[in-house]
């Protein structure tokens, strides 16, 4: 009959749910931080979890190498192709090397590498821990006087922090190599100019920026994905939802953190 109160009602509902969502987001951020900090506190406590860190490095780091290599290669190739046709219009093909290198080292290596790790390793972390929650394996560890934070969460976060910068560096080099092959071998840019420009334009700051980003993304993904799994609702649906949320939150988080870090390094 009268729309006025109904609309007001909708606005209240909207802001109400927005507020609730925001508060819950803040709450989970705090919760995730507490969980990861208390887990990481076990790093130097007995018993030493080195063996489990190595196992996770294998599962998360070595296991992701192939997909990182493929992503890196195609990123470099596409950049060289795109860059070539853009630069050729201005007769500046010689800048191709520096363009490809800057894009990969500063932005695409860390960001695309992090995306791949969220999708491949992060989602598996969340699903694995979530299933351990559903099947009471986490409780079983507790009952055997093994702290699941030290045994399950800590090695995964540490492995993520170690492997992401390493994988991103491999991504960078494979990407540059693929860019060189497309640019120089296929499109006929002068090889000397490609490498010369690349070396001339990359400053140590660019490398630091790339590595700091990779490190930051590693921490972020490790914290988010372990938290989502550990706090998953202990049902099949809960784990499915937690895995989706981990991938979404991880990817969005990487982009937001990327902006913040980039603004620091410019």
């Amino acid at each position: 009959m009268n729309n006025e109160p109904a609309q007001q009602n909708n606005a209240i509902l909207f802001f109400g749910s927005l507020g609730r969502w925001f508060l819950r987001a803040i709450e989970s951020m705090g919760d995730a931080t507490v969980l990861s900090v208390t887990s990481l506190a076990h790093l130097f406590a007995k018993p030493w979890q080195g063996k489990h860190i190595v196992i996770q490095l294998y599962a998360l780091g070595v296991g992701s190498f192939v997909i990182i290599a493929i992503t890196g290669a195609f990123t470099g190739m596409v950049l060289a192709l795109q860059g070539y046709y853009t630069l050729a219009k201005f007769g500046s093909e010689s800048l191709l090397g520096s363009g490809v290198a800057l894009a990969i080292i500063r932005e695409l290596g860390p960001v695309l590498g992090a995306f791949m790790m969220v999708g491949r390793a992060g989602s598996s972390i969340t699903a694995e821990i979530g299933i351990m929650r559903v099947t009471e394996q986490l409780d079983a560890l507790q009952m055997m006087a093994v702290n699941p934070k030290a045994r399950i969460i800590l090695p995964r976060i540490i492995a993520m922090i170690i492997s992401l910068p390493l994988l991103v560096s491999m991504f960078d080099i494979i990407g540059l190599g693929a860019g060189y092959i497309v640019g120089v071998e296929l499109l006929g840019v002068n090889g000397g100019a490609f490498i010369g420009e690349m070396i001339a334009k990359i400053t140590p700051m660019d490398l630091y920026a790339g590595w700091v980003k990779a490190l930051g993304f590693g921490i972020l993904i490790g914290v988010i994905c372990t938290y989502m799994g550990y706090r998953a609702t202990p049902t099949t649906e809960g784990v499915a939802k937690a895995t989706t949320q981990a991938v979404v939150a991880g990817s969005v988080g990487v982009l937001i953190l990327d902006y913040i870090l980039t603004s620091f390094f410019l």
Binding site: P47, I131, M132, T135, E136, Q137, D139, A140, L141, Q142, M143, M144, A145, V146, N147
Partner: protein
């Protein structure tokens, strides 16, 4: 040995356990029975320290589980074993590694000694020869027996069983039940079994605690329970569909709920 004092646990508005005082004696099999949602699993998790009570205390001898440090809790747990409802074997480890897990974690024993102990434990549950199997290759009953062997690995003083016979065929259930009875007697451990399986529960119990809606409604030996004149106890034991324990758990009026369609807003 274990004593609870006005122990309560609430989940938001739901009262799972309401001010219960129970006493669990040493070297006995105590069976906690009750229908679904009677608070028996909650009681078990509270006793094991996996959850914190809303109010009340749990005493292990002179130790209060409230505010116990993690170190002391873990020390206490090294004397406990637990068999979970769905076994909770570690998926990534073989049967052998699952049973060896507590030994590898908490002892400095030589690998050959651990091997002997694991073989002994698996023999006790009748699964010697299955060392190389992964948990996913086991049937429910076998997984439960492996979980049993794992719980026994450290020769615990107290073993908790969460629904040890649920989801098993009668023979497997019988095997598990007799294993619990046998081992409790032979190894002088204290078993606390949570179950809704009246037959198996009464068969192995030295002491039975019957829970209903978070409260203890009957306590005593199997015979005391069998011959109880409480109508609720009789209904539960015989599994009659009607009696003082209602099937419907709704508190609101049926007619009200039918008339109150979603989406309609009352104008009053």
């Amino acid at each position: 040995m274990i004593r609870t004092e006005k122990l309560s646990r609430h989940f938001d508005d739901v009262v799972a356990l309401d001010s219960t005082d129970i006493h669990i004696k040493e070297h006995q099999t105590t069976v906690v029975m009750g229908g679904s949602g009677s608070g028996k699993t909650t009681l078990l998790r509270l006793l094991a320290g996996l959850e914190c009570p809303t109010s009340g205390h749990i005493w292990y001898g002179k130790d209060d589980l409230n505010g116990i440090s993690q170190k002391n809790l873990y020390k206490l747990r090294s004397r406990m074993g637990m068999v979970f409802q769905y076994s909770a074997l570690l998926n990534s480890l073989s049967v052998y590694d699952n049973v060896a897990f507590p030994l590898v974690e908490h002892t400095q024993l030589d690998e050959s000694v651990i091997h002997t102990m694991v073989t002994m434990k698996l023999e006790q549950v009748g699964l010697r020869g299955f060392e190389k199997f992964m948990p996913s290759q086991l049937s429910g009953g076998m997984a439960k027996r492996v979980a049993f062997a794992r719980a026994l690995a450290m020769d615990p003083e107290i073993v908790f069983f969460d629904e040890p016979t649920s989801g098993l065929d009668p023979i497997s259930a019988g095997v598990i039940a007799s294993l619990i009875g046998d081992l409790t007697q032979r190894t002088k451990m204290t078993s606390i079994v949570v179950t809704h399986d009246v037959h198996a529960g009464l068969a192995i119990a030295d002491h039975v605690i019957l829970l209903w809606q978070g409260k203890v409604i009957a306590e005593g030996t199997s015979d005391v329970i069998r011959h109880s004149d409480d109508a609720r106890v009789q209904q539960f034991i015989e599994g009659r569909p009607d009696g003082p324990i209602p099937f419907s758990r709704s508190e609101t009026s049926y007619i009200e709920d039918l008339l109150h369609k979603p989406g309609t807003v009352r104008m009053s």
